[in-house]
Structures are given as C-alpha cells and as structure tokens.
Amino acid sequence: MTTITDILSSMDYGPSPEDSSIALGWLERHSGGFGHFINGAFTKPGKTFTVSNPATGQELAKVTQGTAADVDTAVTAARKAQPKWAALAGHERAKYLYALARHVQQHSRFLAVLESLDNGKPIRESRDIDIPLVARHLYHHAGWAELLEDEFPGAEPIGVCGQVIPWNFPLLMLAWKIAPALAAGNTVVLKPAEYTPLTALAFAEIAVECGLPKGVLNIVTGDGETGAAIVAHDGIDKIAFTGSTEVGRLIRRQTAGSGKSLTLELGGKSPFVVFADADLDAAVEGVVDAIWFNQGQVCCAGARILVAEAVAERFETLLKARMATLRVGDPLDKSTDIGAIVHPVQLDRIRDLVGQGVAQGAVLHQGTAPEGCFYPPTLATGVEPASILATEEIFGPVVTLTPFRTPADALSLANNTRYGLAASIWSENVNLCLDIASKIKAGVIWINCTNVFDAGAGFGGYRESGFGREGGREGMGAYLAHPAPRTKKPEAAPPAPDATPHTGGQAQGIDRTAKLYIAGKQTRPDSGYSYTVQGGKAAVGLAGLGNRKDIRNAVEAANKATGWGKANGHNRAQVLYYLGENLSARAPEFEERLRSFGAGKGAAAEEVATAIRRCFWYAAQADKFDGAVHQTKSAHGTLAMNEPLGVIGIACPLAHPLLGFVSTVLPAISMGNSVVTVPSQAHPLAATDFYQVLETSDVPAGVVNIVTGPRDDLAKTLAQHDEVAGMWYFGTPDGGRMVEAESAGNLKQTWVEDGAARDWTGAEGQGRIFLEHATQVKNIWVPYGE
C-alpha cells in the first residue's frame, strides 16, 4: 500500500476515479437491449448491434439496428404529432424545453458518466463542457420558443425534421439539433451515431419524464443505412446532418430535387494562427484546447498550427513541454486530459493517416498513451501544404506545425483548404487580429481563444464545411420556413436555342449586336454562334450562344472582382443608386424592348419602374443589412458579421426578362458578391441592353457578368464550378434537381425555385430573404480583459 510518506516523496496525483455505478446500473436494467424511441415509447428491441466502451472494449449495451420500416414508423409518428405541436402557443413549447433543460441539469452527472463510458471522452469534459452546454442550448431555445411570434413574424415550422448526428459530442449534437427544431414547432426523427447512441436513449427517457407529447421526438438507432433511410424518406421536410464532408456530399446528391430543406455541418481543417506578438504560453494552452480536446475528434479543431517564423522555435519548445504534461488514459479518471479514441476503426484511420504523413516526410513528436484504443498527443512538423496531414481531416489528437513569414503568408496558408469551419488567431495586436479575422474564410473565428461555444452564437461553416448555422438567431432561422411561393403551373422548359438564321426579317434602323458581358467588356461568345430571340409576334433579334468556356471566363472575372466585396456599403449603395439613375434615363428604350417581347404598354412601363425602385431598395440595404453582437459568455464580444458568399451563379426565370434579372442580381451585388448571370433564355436582350447601364454606372469590371444561352447547360457548368460559392436557380423542376445535385462537388449553397412561382413584379420580388441568401454569417469571438 502506498503510504502518505511515499506520496509526499513522489507527489503524484494518484487515482481519482469517477463512480460509474449508477450509469452501469441503468445499463444493466437495459441489458435486454434497447429498442427505438417512437411515438413516446420504446419499441421492442429488433436486430441489435453491440455498443462498447472504447476505453476497455467491454460491451455496454445492445442497440437496435433501425430498418426502413422503423424509420417509416417514426416519421409517421412525427408527422401525426407535428400539427398539434406547432399549434401550441410558443409559451407551451417553451415550458417543455425548459423542463428538458432542467431535467438535464438534474441528471447531469448520470449523463456525463454515461457519455464518457460510451464515447471515451474524459469525465472532465463531459461533466464540465458537454452536459452544461446541452442544458444551455435547451434553455436558450426555450427562449426562442417563447419569443417566436415576436421575433420571427410570419415564419412557420418546416414540418418533420430528419436529423443525423455524429459520435464526437453525442448528447450535445442531439441538443443542437432538437432544441431549435422543437422550439420552432417541428417534430423530429433523430438518429444518433452507431458508436454512441446511449445518451440519446437516456435523453428519450428524460423526455418521457418531462411529459413531452408523444411523437414530437423520435429516436431511431442504427448505422449509416438507417441514416440513409431517413434522408431518403419522402415524409421528411428537412434534413440536418452533422458529420463527414463525404457523407454530406452524398446527402446533397440524394436530396437534390426532393424539395427537402437541408443544413450540413461537416468537416474542417481549421488553422490556428500564432503571430510573433502573441502571448505564446496562452497560444500553447490554446493548442491544448484546440486539438487535445475530445481526443482531437472535433470538427472545428485547430489542426493546423501556423506560427510566425520569428517565434516558431520558441513556440515549439513551449508546446512540447506542455504536451509532456498531458495525461492520456482512463476517461473516468478525473485527472485525465485525453481519453479513448471512440472506436478501433477510428484509431486505425488516425494511424493510417499519420503513417502516410510520415512517409511524406513529417516528423512526429508524441506524448505517451496506454495500450488499447488510445492515441498519444502528437505534433507533426516538417509538414508541407501538400502533405496528407495538412489537407485531410484526421479527427484525432494530431496537429501540424508550419512556420509562416508575413501576415499575408499566414493568410494564404490559412485559406489553402477546401474547408472553412473555424479559425483561431493569436496576437495582442487588435488591428492584426481583426484584419485576419475578416479575411479568413470560415464561419467561426476565435481571437486569442479557441473551441469556445455558446448557444447564443451561430456555429457553422463556409466552403465544404457545409451550410446553415446552429445556435443563435441564425440557427433558429434554419428551422423556420417563410411560406415559399407556389404555382399551379410550373415553368416549362424553354425550347432549345436555335442557332441558325431565322426568317423574321430585318428590324428597322441600324442593326444591334447583343454580346456577352464578361469582365466589364462586351465579348463575343466563344462558340461563334448566336441564337434567335423570339418576340411577341416574330423573331426580334439574336443573342450570343454562350458555352462552358464563356462561363469559365466569366467566373474567372467574377473571382477577380474582390475589391467589390471589400468596398463599404455606402460605396456599393452609390453605385446601385447610379444604376437606378441611368436605368431611369433609358426607361423608354427598356419599355420598348419589353414590348417587343410581347408585354403590354402598361406592364412594360411598370416592369421598368419596378426595376428602378429595386435599384434604390438594394442601394438602401447595402449599408443596413447588419450583423449582430451576440450575448454569449461574459467578457466576450461575439460579432456576427454578414459576409458575401463570393461568386454567385444566377439562372434567371424565363418570364419578366428585366425584373427577373435585376431582382436577382441587385441583392447579390448589394451585399458585395460578384455574379455570373444567365438571363432569361427566351428573352435575354433586356439583360444585354442592361450592360450599357452597368458600364455607365461605375460598376467595377467583373462584378456583373452576363452569359446568354441555354440556361440549364450554363447553370450546370456554374453548379459544378469549384470557384462558385452560391448558385441561384429559378427554372424548371428538372433543372433545379440538376443544380442541387451538381452543387455537391464543392457543397456550394443553392437556392432553387420554380421560375414561375414567384411574383417578380410584387412584394415577392424583393426583400430580406434575397439578402439572406446573398450572405453567410461569420461569428468572431473576441474575449477582452486587462
């Protein structure tokens, strides 16, 4: 036996195990296996699979593999419960969410221990981070339920939400998913990850304890096949997925054209940028919180340290010293920093990736880890940007270190990734921090901190890290629908462009040539062909037959027009006002053009007048569509900034040749995007007339690019283009499906509607919804205190 005298000599910490008997007793009572939680009750266990404790390999429970039939039963229950749940007053739903929050707190240690048993994460984290954040999320959304009608007037729930969550924060991800869904009046079918379903099942019991109405929350367990059955189910209105980018891409393709709303929170390879004037000890501790938190199995983990060359050696020395004090081992020991990797399959993946990195020249510096499903904290140096360790999400306690020379160098390394989930910036220079924060392409930026979370701020990514936000006002928005316009008569596909001479005869006066408009220049189509534009009675002219090379050139030009997004709102407003002024000066010409397409005199005049008003409306919005400062943690400013997406591709509806063009292009450029637009395929000449207005209104080259031609062919090239960040498509159902499916390549944000549904002449033709689609929210966390 170790005596106190011995300990006085060693001053070791000794064992400090968390008692797991209550959680194990609960599992013992369920040793017959868990069924699904459907319609307020547990089903009988079906075909089960084993859930194990990764730290010991011991079996914890048997859990049912959900079938398509199980999913169908759950969706039916959710569908049945939804109208009544949505019809409750917000206050009533708030009471349920409040009760769930309270009961999570009351069962906090039970849930924390169960989570650590199931997932392998240290009890410190499940106890101090995961479960308190679960309760916080439920409280916060009890608030949104209460305030829904006041804060989101006119919004409606989406319906039945299918939610598929990962294994890294099992109960927290459940809370992130169900809290906004239930607050908004949706009902839920949720599938926890197959490695870690236990706290979700415990939560189902808590829902029963709270008296949550049956069918509102349904939990179906199973593997990826069960998830696929949820994604594919026709009775689901929205899919929310958190997990790998690979699966996110599959879901994007699978749901294309289904009309399901979709939010994806996917992978990351987040940069952790340390400048020479940073508090280096603070940054080292930041690395601990970034990559040695939750065994590095964190989507927003700061996995790429970029450090100023001037301090790189010192930083590495400090980091290695800190790494040596990390304790890897029993997740239930209160002195453990790093617990078990969630599953041997994941451990193999980590080992494999690190092995490949070493083969490519990486040098490893590692701590120690016990035998079993554990991996030591690992620092990899000598990692070049092309190395697999720098590009692939490892999802393990492995961080790379790369020196940089200048802030510009740091920025290009930081943005040299497919992903855009998070970033961490370390410097005592506020100018530098905010400059870099504004330029890194990521949804969450932590300045002098990392992995700080709060329900009051949105969380979600740019680029291939997905779209949609969770938390805060922006997260609530993702579970609410504004009644979308519908039409009885969907837009029919236009006839294929005829690129042969027409028999319509020569128009009066001097011939006018409509070209494409790319990079601020009138450009002949690459194809060398033109197609006939029909008017009300006969052909009225020719338009260029654009092809994929024209799109390529237009996107390149749009991508270079970066100054536009950096210009301030007032500058953009001036240009938009000027557009209105110059359009007004040419109003008769545009009216005549519209009449040539068959519009009546009054309708043509009204369409032009509306277009002029829209110039003013979006000019007015250019400096007013603001972000917010979120209430999160004390002594933190959390700035939610609306940022442009970048390059947006726009395929315009066939009708309203001028308004369909102006109403989509203006909101996009007013927010600082540049656009590549395919105007009405049938009547593109109003848009090509418009480039003369653009030219006289100081719109910088490349901000608006116009490519006329076959809409769906051109839209497909845009949807596939990796430099295009957003794609708006107003057209046929088939075209919409194509756009959504093709957008999966870089997971660009899409906005797809029937081209005939929206009344472009009325209130539906402009509004904040356009601005919301034209922006993404970046949350910048700035702690303060001296």
């Binding site: 005298t5 910490y13 004037d277 508090d279």
Partner: protein, 338 residues
C-alpha cells in the same frame, strides 16, 4: 537574447524544514536586461481560462489528498503581521509552526517519526528576535518583512537599514516590498538598483521580493516586475503583502511562475514562488499546488521553492486531515490555534 542558456540545476526532494533555495545554487542576479520582459505579451483572458480549468483538470483523492495537504502545510509561511503583535503572540505562532498537526492526526497519517513543521514563521522586524528564540533548534527559518512593509514608501537608506536590523535579529529570509511607482512609471533601472541594494543588505539571508501585484494591476507589469526582481538577485518572488485590496490570484500567479520559468531557462537558476494573501481553504492549497506541479514540475512543491503566505489555511488543512484520519468531520475548536 544575448544571454547564455544554462542547463537547469537538478533539484531533489528535501527533508523539512528547508530553507529557501536549500537544494541549489543561489541566484546571483544578472545585469538589467529589459529585452527579457519589455516585449513579453500577456493575455489576461487566456490566463483566466487556464487557471479556471486547472483545478478541474487534476484531482487528488483519499491518501493522495492527505499527502498533498501535508505537503501544503510544510510550505506554509505561518505569519502574523498585525499591529497588536506581541512576544507572546509570536511564541504561540512558533509553537504551532513546530507542531502544526495534533499528535493523533500525525499518528493517524502514519507520519509519527517524520519531522513536520511549517515552512517558516513570518513576522515584523521587531518580532524577529522573539521568533528566533522560540524556534531555536527547530530548524524552522524566521522570515521578516522589511523595507517599509507594506507600502515601501520610506527613504531607501532607512529601508536598507531595516533589512540589516532584521538580519541582525536573526532573520533567515527577508520579504521586501518593491516601490510600485518604479513599475507604474516603467523606471526599471530604479527598480533594479533598489532591489540590488536590498539583496546586498540581506547578506546571507534570502530575499523574497513582494511585488504587490494588486497595485501593479496588469499582467504585463507583473511579468516585468518579476523579471527585474530576479535579475536583481531575488531568491523568491511573492505576489502580495496581504494588505492590498487584491492579493494572490491564480492568473497573477500563473504569470509570475512563467516568468521564473523563463528566467531559469535563460540563466539556469531556480527561483521560488510565494503566493500570499486571500487563500484560506484546504481546497485552495490543492489548487495552488496543482498549478505549481503542472506549470513547473514536482520540484516546485518543495518548501525551498514554494511557500504559501496563508496562515488561516492551516486550520482548514488540519480539519481536513483529521477527517481523513477519523472519517468524522472535524471542529477547529479541538485543534490548537496558532
């Protein structure tokens, strides 16, 4: 930095009582080198985050907890610095310093034969003589505050004379206070010269430099003052007098111990650390020790490199240790007071 990096001197476990710096070569100081601190960045939010999670990251239970509390006890500078101090009061304090635990507790912990005392006794200069006599033969060092404690706003010659007086009375350690003005006006040369002079006045007695971090306010000031004190030859750096409105805090302590780590990395000399003021509970004794072990390693849990300026903590530690021995929650009325 144009300073040779020396290998750190290896420490070892010391028997109690141990004088400050007992196990290693004394810090001789070095020329004033502002580049070691002037551009050193410090982020308070990060320091607060680190210290807030520290106690949750490590846990000591059962026998380990008891041992850690015993260790804390032998690092305590048992202190009385009050206007109503008398010879009898000091003798009582010294008696407690010699026997900080009731015999049955010590026995119950299996420490019957182990010499167990507090780290030192700390008093005003005029009380040093009483303390030295009361502690004779115990090996327990006598520490004296000096230099116009607690504000230090006295002419330098008088402050130096006060040091020489205390040393002559028998003090082994001198807890000096710095002139806060020199820090607030960034007059590093004046601060350095003053502490060098104090170090010289101390002679063989060890110098513990009280920075009064509650007055310095910022972490940058704290780091700079720590570094200047060490460059001027301080053996220990200490947070507070106990008389400022804010005394020992974990974020300030974190910055000071990282300063002494950095000084050691450059010079090879080991400097001790003493948080003082405001710490009362046994739980805090554990937290501070965890801080030392995590940031500096096991050697900084020895009384030659770590001291608590916290007298009332002793009572709570004794109660917790009795609970460990008997399984019953204890009452301080059954323990001897200091």
């Amino acid at each position: 930095m144009a300073v040779d990096v020396k290998a750190p001197i290896q420490g070892k476990t010391h028997p109690v009582p141990a004088r400050t710096g007992a196990g290693h070569e004394r810090n001789p100081g070095m020329p004033l080198t502002p580049e070691m601190f002037e551009s050193h960045a410090l982020n308070r939010s990060a320091a607060e985050r680190r210290t807030a999670t520290l106690a949750a990251r490590r846990s000591v239970k059962k026998a380990y907890q008891a041992a850690w509390l015993v260790n804390a006890l032998r690092c305590i500078d048992l202190t009385t610095l009050a206007g109503d101090d008398t010879a009898a009061r000091v003798r009582r304090l010294c008696a407690k310093a010699r026997n900080p635990l009731a015999p049955h507790i010590k026995e119950g912990l299996g420490l019957g034969d182990m010499p167990l005392t507090t780290g030192a006794v700390c008093v005003y200069p005029t009380m040093v003589n009483h303390a030295a006599r009361a502690l004779e033969g115990s090996g327990i060092p006598v520490a004296s505050v000096a230099t116009g404690f607690p504000t230090g706003l006295m002419p330098l010659n008088l402050r130096l004379e006060e040091i020489r007086y205390a040393v002559a009375e028998g003090a082994d350690e001198i807890d000096i206070v710095i002139t806060r003005e020199h820090v607030l006006t960034a007059n590093w040369q004046a601060l350095y010269d003053e502490i060098c002079a104090m170090r010289e006045a101390c002679g063989p007695a060890h110098l513990k430099a009280i920075l009064a971090t509650g007055d310095l306010q910022t972490l940058r000031n704290t780091y700079a003052a720590s570094m200047v004190a060490m460059q001027a030859g301080a053996d220990f750096i200490k947070t507070s007098t106990g008389k400022e409105s804010v005394n020992a805090t974990l974020p300030v302590s974190l910055v000071m111990i990282r300063a002494l780590r950095d000084y050691g990395a450059v010079t090879g000399y080991r400097i001790g650390f003493k948080p003082a003021g405001g710490m009362k509970s046994a739980k805090e004794a554990l937290t501070w020790q965890i801080l030392m072990k995590e940031e500096l390693g096991r050697d900084w849990l020895n009384p030659d490199l770590f001291r608590f300026g916290a007298s009332s903590m002793l009572g709570d530690i004794e109660r917790q240790l009795e609970h460990h021995v008997t399984g019953r929650y204890a009452s301080s009325s059954r323990h001897a007071i200091a």
